[in-house]
Symmetry: C2
């Protein structure tokens, strides 16, 4: 790991352990240099990463402050660490309904930029939080990047497998949210009533090279749909 | 405006005018330096801003690519430019129901970090898109930063007033989304039925100094609730 990334992680850990809240002041740049025994440049780079990730903000002439506002049980929509981080205190599990290769629909083909005659992996799961249905998830994987999947793998964390076994790294993703009403099938999976509120999230994941490889369509149980978003300012 | 910010704007404008799509390649670093007649350092800074704002991505040894995936009518949840940018093709308006000073509730006081005995401005508006109700918006402003508001001001763009007249700059905001069902009052404002889906968004806006000054509670019409989010990777 790069030195400035290591220092960034240590500062983030310090904020977490010290339970510092939004607006609380961090040690000065000079103190951070002394404390971590690294160059000024390394600390500046570390702070820049933390600011980009919404962990701190710097006010010229005033200092470095903690930016860490969230509510328990809210999922952070910006950092794609899966659910694991935000919902660490909850009991998460998944029920795999299907794992198979299929020919993509036009929508899947458009998103994954693969041909209609090129098979993709299709995975359908119900995800649970504290044994209550959190969402229905249908994922499509480009076989060029994900050549093999089975039930055992997708019952566990797919992203863990992608990262550790296939050595794939997610660079970024695009999410599309819309609100609607549950149809009968969706309602039965989520243990809700037909026409209850539905949150639909389409998400397209990209590799480091910028290639899309995972297109996922999720339908959330509105009772467990709480999301947190940190936004940047209007003045770029 | 700083030179690198100017170059960043010009590159973004070039992408827009050329209608470049996600994954399309931009001129090389060397070509950008030549084209814009600026230093390498300036172009690197400009590209760094554009990458941070999700406009481009750079692949080492391969080039600079456009990152610009959105769907028409979807609101970008990360960049707080108000609705104006994403919904530029739509007819937007607002109906002001109330503008007054009130004593804050506990929730408002907690969020704006002001005392329960310190009055705040309260604004209630219905916002319309193509003459259909888009959302109910209740905003609370700390009077320390927003000493005066009236009906004429809030009928127009509040953010324009804050920026141009009061010279306030928004640094960042925290958004909290949750899904529920409309109560009778909300449904009547939005011209929907009681128990129809509701998207509730609480948003807290901060000034450059990191002080919160605007706490807004919005309830969206689910028929017009489409949001877009660009996320960063899992590997920080």
């Amino acid at each position: 790991m790069l030195k400035y990334q290591e220092i960034a992680n240590q500062i983030e850990e310090y904020i977490r352990v010290s339970k510092l809240e939004q607006g609380e002041k961090l040690p000065s740049l000079e103190d951070l240099i002394t404390n971590y025994e690294v160059s000024k440049n390394t600390v500046i780079k570390a702070l820049s990463i933390l600011e980009k990730n919404g962990v701190i903000y710097q006010v010229r002439g005033s200092g470095i402050f903690v930016r860490r506002q969230n509510r328990k049980g809210y999922i952070n929509l910006i950092n794609n660490k899966g659910f694991t981080d935000d919902l660490a205190d909850f009991n998460l599990s998944a029920n795999v309904l299907e794992v198979k290769t299929i020919l993509p629909t036009q929508e899947v083909s458009d998103n994954l930029k693969c041909s209609l005659t090129q098979e993709v992996y299709y995975v359908k799961r119900i995800r649970f939080i504290n044994k209550q249905a959190l969402c229905i998830e249908e994922s499509y994987f480009n076989k060029e990047y994900v050549p093999y999947l089975n039930k055992e793998i997708v019952e566990d964390s797919i992203f863990h497998y992608l990262k550790e076994t296939l050595k794939l790294k997610v660079r970024f993703s695009d999410k599309y949210l819309r609100i609607g009403k549950l149809n009968q099938t969706e309602a039965s999976y989520l243990n809700l009533n037909t026409h209850d509120p539905a949150l639909h999230v389409d998400e397209l994941f990209y590799l480091m090279s910028g290639e899309p490889f995972d297109f996922s369509k999720m339908t959330y149980n509105y009772n467990h749909s709480q999301f947190f978003i940190q936004s940047s300012g209007m003045d770029k």
